[in-house]
Symmetry: C2
Subunit: 461 residues, 2 copies
């Protein structure tokens, strides 16, 4: 980019936004070349802008079209596929100042929020009314609603409650042309036009910059029961998972941790986990008391039948302790080595035992430490490779192992990504799953929204 | 179309398909100029084809691209927005021979079906396993899965269980280019590429011809309670609806019938409905026995507080009788006059009382008989105009009334269509809801899938 052009463009942007809404100094820009993803080539942006209104977002996108300068929308930057990392000289659009909960509508059980609202803040706001917004990615206390819609965040409750896409009823967005559009609304049913709210969810900032979101809320469950089951065989754990669902019990959460993860968490937290176990399962059922009783009975039976050693949380404090272990999984694994490669290749839940076996083989083949934990109930495992990206020889083995993990997931009828997104971390593998015709369709679709390829270029397809 | 060209094109098509899979005689084609929609200009197709494999569908779409002849995908033709009616000389693709249930997967709680499977046949097939496929449009015993995915069918259980889009995990389709693509799959979580399964649901046959569908199944509820409540004021009924939800009870069904509908059903069926009532509500809660008890108590309290006279179905036979009245609504109304215009303008549920008021005003203003019934719990009302399309003067009033119904729904924060689709019945109103930029986006999106505008042209946008 020629220097004069850049100076002129940024001066114009400065003029559009007024003071205090743009940063251009290298030391201010540095962090915006990163997000939570490991091992990516990063690129510092030209500037970061902080719009404070929808109108400013519109002006920014029009400006970008005029100068053909790419925009990179960003929330809290917690995503794990490089979704917010610039790929060329452009401007990061940081949406955290658009952070109002605009409405909680108790008649329609909806909330309307701006993109910068933190997911957990929405849940705190609706709690007094006995309501919840179920999607709960691990980053629920830091991630924004806008980012979580753009990435279609998953989390621990996907099995019973679904993921972000199941709760988004309406989206207002500035598409790549600079046009402000509203998709969907507060009606439960809506078949007017294509399902554009659904298309925006998981679009990774490539179709539009989200400026408003209408979400569905649901009544909070009134009762809960939580179990920890210890297994000496990974097959037993896998069979227990499949059998619970086969008994038509859909737990709220059904999580697994393998031996590597258990040992690392125990070293890190020292909370008395069974370090010789091959796997532990954490299972929680929620709903009405009687239903929870019935489901809990079946869950316990299945776990014990599959040789699980079962303990039940007797109160909220004990339940908290169980989840503390689960929540510690990623931070604990991340402490072991300089670089943590957290994957989310996902399989149909019946293939979880087969996938666990493949992960073990891959870890042995490439002589790598892979800790696996995750949402076993929905087939969304998180194999986590503990490595050091500055060790070139090992990093090459990591890259090969990652490729093999994806191939295994696809062979088992799964998908490249269950909840982390494609971004720039997985777009080179997209052909394997979608084929050339599929990838070309994604590209044409992108251009229908964003003909000048302004929004988050180089991501997804 | 020049005669020679037509003869050549059809001869080629005949050759591709072999014998017994194509009809070209006018008396065979006549019915394919219609579907269940009233008051449309119809157009007889050049031919109807009956593919018996996915490969044949691919060949048909390639043939259509070669000759630039439009295709009109069709299931049972039960849709109410002209979605299956030809708009120009083209070929109807009747998918009812692709009618196999390919798999019921009890481990993953999914079923894989071909598009010609009747919705109810799927439900009968999964019933022995204690599972259900919840979407239940009124046409459940005749409509096909393919048609119901293409139109995103709604139905009586939308409030609690959602609609078709909430159950479609994967779709295989031949897009307008003739390419066979697979979107989604059996994993609960999938963020690979844009959410193309969601985009296919409700795309009204304009993006692709669906050849395979993977649906989510859920455990059948084990208990039910059903109530009939009689109201002397439409406001009381409306307030009761809002208050049930506000009490965080989400009934499985929450249906309304107004006085016109009640009287017509009673005349038709003679089952003892209260003909002097202003409205009746039918409410059913389902789930685990204890939950059903708790919810039933709240429902009864709210209904009585709002001056509803409540009776409860004591057994399945009595429940059947309640639903018989509801199911008779449309057939009864349809018997009264030569033409029945069934609308589905939809509002946020809190606006149901306001919408009912507006419907009454519109019926008086245009001196028309409008019976209203429908899914009050999800704001999806069915104002039904009883008329005669051969009476030109009255038909003009009907058209004005319909426009005003749409305007009212939009003013109340609603949408043009909750579950019937846009098709060719409502596309001239699309601008009101989506604006010019929105409609242009729909058109660009369509072209990304179907650059030659082969698939169901003239529908939706």
């Amino acid at each position: 980019m020629r220097r004069f052009f850049k100076v002129e463009a940024l001066a114009k942007l400065q003029k559009i936004l007024g003071s205090g809404k743009i940063k251009t100094q290298p030391e201010e820009l540095f962090v915006y070349g990163y997000d939570a993803t490991a091992g990516l080539k990063n690129q510092m942006p030209l500037a970061v802008v902080f719009p404070e209104s929808t109108e400013e977002v519109v002006e920014i996108v029009k400006w970008a079209n005029e100068y053909k300068i790419p925009l990179y929308p960003r929330g809290s930057g917690t995503n794990l596929s490089g979704g917010t990392v610039p790929t060329a000289k452009g401007v990061v659009v940081e949406l955290n100042r658009l952070n109002k909960i605009l409405e909680i509508d108790l008649d329609n059980l909806t909330a309307t929020v701006e993109p910068g609202v933190i997911i957990n803040d929405l849940n705190e706001a609706v709690k007094p009314y006995g309501l919840i917004y179920p999607p709960d990615p691990g980053t629920v206390t830091t991630a924004t609603m806008g980012g979580s819609v753009a990435e279609c965040s998953g989390g621990l409750r996907g099995l019973k409650y679904g993921v972000t896409k199941h709760y988004i009823m309406g989206v207002e967005a500035v598409i790549g042309t600079g046009e402000l559009l509203k998709f969907g609304g507060k009606t439960v049913k809506n078949v007017t036009g294509y399902d554009l709210p659904a298309l925006m969810v998981g679009s990774e900032g490539t179709l539009g910059i989200i400026t408003k979101i209408i979400v569905k809320l649901i009544p909070a469950p009134v009762a809960k029961k939580s179990f920890l089951a210890v297994f000496n065989s990974i097959d037993d754990a896998g069979n227990a998972i499949a059998e619970i669902i086969k008994n038509r019990v859909i737990p709220a959460t059904l999580e697994i941790m393998d031996q590597t993860t258990i040992r690392t968490v125990e070293k890190f937290k020292n909370i008395g986990l069974p370090v010789d176990a091959q796997a532990i399962l954490l299972v929680e059922t929620d709903g009405y008391p009687e239903q929870v009783e019935m489901e809990a009975k079946i869950i316990r039976q299945v776990l014990e039948k599959n040789r699980g050693e079962v303990s039940e949380a007797k109160n909220d404090e004990e339940r908290e302790k169980l989840w503390e272990a689960r929540r510690a999984a990623l931070p604990a694994l991340a402490q072991v080595s300089p670089t943590t490669v957290l994957e989310d290749a996902t399989v149909p839940r019946s293939q979880v035992p087969a996938m666990l076996k493949r992960l073990k083989e891959i870890s042995e083949k490439y002589n790598l430490t892979i800790g696996t934990f995750g949402h076993a109930g929905d087939g969304n495992l998180h194999p986590t490779i503990l490595t050091d990206e500055t060790n070139r020889e090992e990093w090459q083995r990591v890259e090969k192992a990652v490729e093999e993990i994806f191939k295994a997931a696809l062979e088992l009828g799964g998908t490249l990504s269950g909840e982390h997104g494609i971004g720039m971390a997985k777009n080179r593998f997209l052909l394997w799953e979608m084929g050339e015709a599929g990838v070309n369709l994604l590209k044409r679709l992108k251009l229908a929204f964003d003909p000048n390829n302004i929004l988050n270029p180089g991501k997804m397809a």
